[in-house]
Amino acid sequence: MEGSTNTLNKKGDIMSKGIKDKVAIIGMGCTKFGELWDKGSEDLMVEAFLECIKDAGVEKEEIQAAWIGSCFDEVNVGKSALPLSTTLKLPFIPVTRVENFCATGTEALRGAVYAVASGAYDMALALGVEKLKDTGYGGLPDFGSAMGSKNRLIMPNMTAPGGFAMMATKYFNKYGLSPDEGKRMLAHVSSKSHHNGTLNPKAHLRKEASIDQIINAPIIAWPLGLFDCCGVSDGAAAAIVVRAEDAKKYREDPVYIKSLQVAVSSGEEMLLNWDGVHVETTLQAAQRAYKEAGITDPRKEISMMELHDCFSITEAVTYEDLGISKRGKAKKDIESGFFDLDGRIPAQPDGGLKCFGHPIAASGLRMIYEMYKQLQGKAEKRQIPNPQIGLTHNLGGFPFYSVAAISILGL
């Protein structure tokens, strides 16, 4: 794979035997995402959880351990695992809160998956919830205080669109795209997700958006416009996992975990060597995930993807970091419809962060929810024919200072 500034695992293989086919998801739930002014985080947790246990066909009392993911605790549920256990009235079981920026939801699942895989528990719950629309302003809460007291003194007061817009500036510059050519490529990314969103009753934004409408929208952070940015939403999603050998006791069509990988910046991208046109954590997590899942040719083997399209440029660069598109050539695949719902590898069949919405800590589990439904053939109007392997990807932080999580799921 091209583009890595690092040598993968040069000081030893950090993966042992891996998690492939050791754990299965037997139930999932996901709320409608959106600006849910009349719902608090408790409502969202209850709704995702009720759908989840109903889908799994289990009782609450069967769950032996739980992980809750929430990111912006200032405006969300609050710190610790208490909000989940007290809302769901979990009977004094171990509950753990995790937070890892936009990878939070996938991290919650990783905790639950490892817990059952180890044999410590037989059944575990992962739930991600985020209530973003209680801040009083648009966009995510400022990073000013979320980055720690030292960074407050030296880091620009960046917003998420600004952080990712810098990658678009560099991408256009490096590959010689005029602002119009670059924005047109990105507009196709967003337009495709808008179309998919119209097919999904749980999506936040359910309107088509044309290429021209997208290109001419107001600039949020140059060169990204309004339609290059994902929805800022409230929502929750949940999963129940058991060991693979027990899965069929609960349902005929469990979905198996083929890989769960997380990669976190070492700091070198921001301070030393980022090339501005790729995300090193995505690249590293993907390489490990393919190895863990036994995938050798992702362009051929992956059936569908839910990628972290917080911004259109992120999705475009992720195609390249995943090794699906060649370096600097995502434009060709994007514009040929390769990632459209009827394309070779549909990306964001549920509308993606762009249109399903992005309640930070729920997003990872929401993506897995879509893959789960697609693999089970229950994705209704947006069903992809006979999918075998689904990939999800989260990216938290900024392109040069990030947390990436990848899951690979299959039957």
Partner: protein
């Protein structure tokens, strides 16, 4: 011999045409019209930031650990208690073993600091004293002073070796002449009648100090190549010249129509203008004004030619400018309007104990350089960021504030709060290595390109007025 070893000017990038102010506010006070333009500090500048930038320019090419004194002269210190000169000293990465002092409360405080520095070095108790003068005074909207006052800073390094102009002598007078005044509760200067100020103060004190100096050292007006003194009233400025028996060509042009009356920094900026065109052997006379007057005279040495190549003076700073096209924008920069900042404009908590621990990193922009692999890194790291090295606790301090760099990538962010949107920021690659993320200022989004050269400028990163905290840090600016 004690004298000026180096000079540095800092004139903010922004100007406003006085006619623009008059068009907006002249209806209130039709007699307030003044010609030309004035220098305006950007929204993220204050007396401290401008002083740091003038000081940094002045110290170009000098070892900073040789400076053992820093005097800051201003009538607009951002802090009443918290020594402003200590902030400047830390930002300039000077040694903590240094005498610092704030000279304030009169616009002649700059020359007072100069005379004190001279005395200290002459007495042998100091070797090199950096004087930073800086002011951003506000005139009340619609008043004459609003058009008159400009914002700028100027620095002189005083020492006893390699001087470019020897300090030959001084003469001071001090009076409680209440022409302009401000108490601790006042945002704006109050003033007495202009005719009285002109005839009884400005028109007399400069003449009195210069006459005193001529008498004291037995000199004649013809002994000087240039005479520098501030312009408060244009006609009275010319009157002082004729009254003293100077020829018009001896008078250094006082920049009044370029930058305005810039308070404590004003005499120094006129002096630097004179030094920029001086020849070895020239005698230059400087007089300040404000509650009296200090007169100081200099003799230019052969060292002047080196200085001209090393530091950029007033001329470059005057020519390199951008206009603020509306009074409303000026009013926002100057905090005259209580603008709607929205939820994103609310400032988060600042930890002052974190600032103390990280003072070199934050105020001084000091990073680290790995002794193993030579990689410069900001902020300083304990474990080398180079993945091929990874050395532990083998770093030396590495200052970045004097390094130029290039824009690696950038954006203009309309979502983040800024008094001058969009908030522009990006990654800067430093010449010689090292990369960090900085706010960009004094520029328009359209003027930026990947690969464009930039330098560092000391600024207010944020202003938390509710807690009385200004988050000082460095931003990237286009090279002037």
């Amino acid at each position: 011999m004690v004298g000026i070893v180096s000079y540095g000017a800092y004139i903010p990038s922004y100007r406003i045409d006085r006619m623009n102010i008059y068009m907006a506010m002249g209806w209130l006070n039709p007699a307030s019209m003044l010609p030309g333009e004035k220098a305006v500090a950007n929204y993220d500048e204050d007396s401290i930031t401008m002083a740091v930038n003038a000081g940094a320019e002045c110290l170009t090419g000098f070892r900073r650990d040789t400076v053992d004194g820093l005097y800051f002269a201003t009538t607009t210190p951002p802090f009443i208690e918290r020594q402003n000169s200590s902030i400047i000293s830390t930002a300039l990465n000077l040694s903590p073993n240094i005498k610092t002092g704030d000279f304030t409360n009169s616009i002649k405080a700059g020359t007072s600091a100069l005379i004190s520095a001279y005395d200290s070095i002459e007495a042998g108790t100091s070797d090199n004293i950096l004087i930073c003068t800086s002011d951003c005074r506000l005139g009340k909207p619609g008043g004459y002073l609003e058009e008159m006052y400009g914002d700028s800073a100027a620095s002189l390094l005083i020492g006893k070796n390699n001087e470019i102009a020897e300090i030959k002598g001084s003469f001071s007078i001090s009076y409680d002449f209440v022409d302009h005044w401000r108490t601790k509760k006042d945002e704006y200067n109050r003033s007495w009648e202009d005719r009285w100020i002109r005839d009884e103060g400005y028109g007399r004190f400069i003449i009195e100090s210069i006459s005193g100096l001529l008498r004291k050292y037995d000199l004649k007006p013809d002994d000087f190549s240039k005479v520098c003194y501030p312009c408060i009233y244009e006609r009275a400025h010319a009157f002082i010249c004729t009254k003293m028996g100077f020829r018009l060509e001896q008078i250094q042009e006082p920049l009044f129509t370029n930058i305005g009356n810039t308070g404590t920094s004003y005499p120094f900026l006129i002096l630097i203008s004179a030094l920029e065109e001086a020849k070895p052997g020239d005698r230059i006379l400087l007089a300040s004004y404000g509650n009296g007057s200090d007169a100081v005279y200099f003799e230019v040495t052969d060292g002047i030619e080196d200085a001209k190549g090393r530091v950029k003076g007033v001329k470059n700073m005057i020519e390199s400018k951008q206009m603020i096209d509306t009074y409303e924008k000026y009013a926002v920069f100057k905090n005259l309007l209580d603008i709607d900042k929205g939820g994103r404009g609310e400032e988060a908590f600042t930890s002052l104990s974190t600032l103390w621990r990280e003072r070199k990193t934050v105020l001084g922009l000091v990073g680290s350089k790995c002794r193993e692999c030579g990689t410069p890194q900001y902020p300083p790291q304990r474990i080398c960021v180079n993945p091929d090295c990874g050395a532990i606790d083998d770093m030396e301090e590495y200052p970045f504030s004097d390094k130029k760099g290039t824009i690696f990538t950038y954006t203009g962010d309309n979502l983040a709060f800024s008094p001058n949107p969009p908030a522009i920021y990006g990654l800067v690659d430093f010449d010689g290595g090292g990369r960090y993320l900085f706010d960009f200022t004094d520029c328009e989004l359209d003027s930026l390109k990947v690969g464009m050269p930039v330098k560092m400028s000391f600024r207010r990163k944020y202003a938390d007025e509710n807690r009385g905290i200004y988050g000082y840090f460095w931003k990237a600016v286009p090279i002037r």
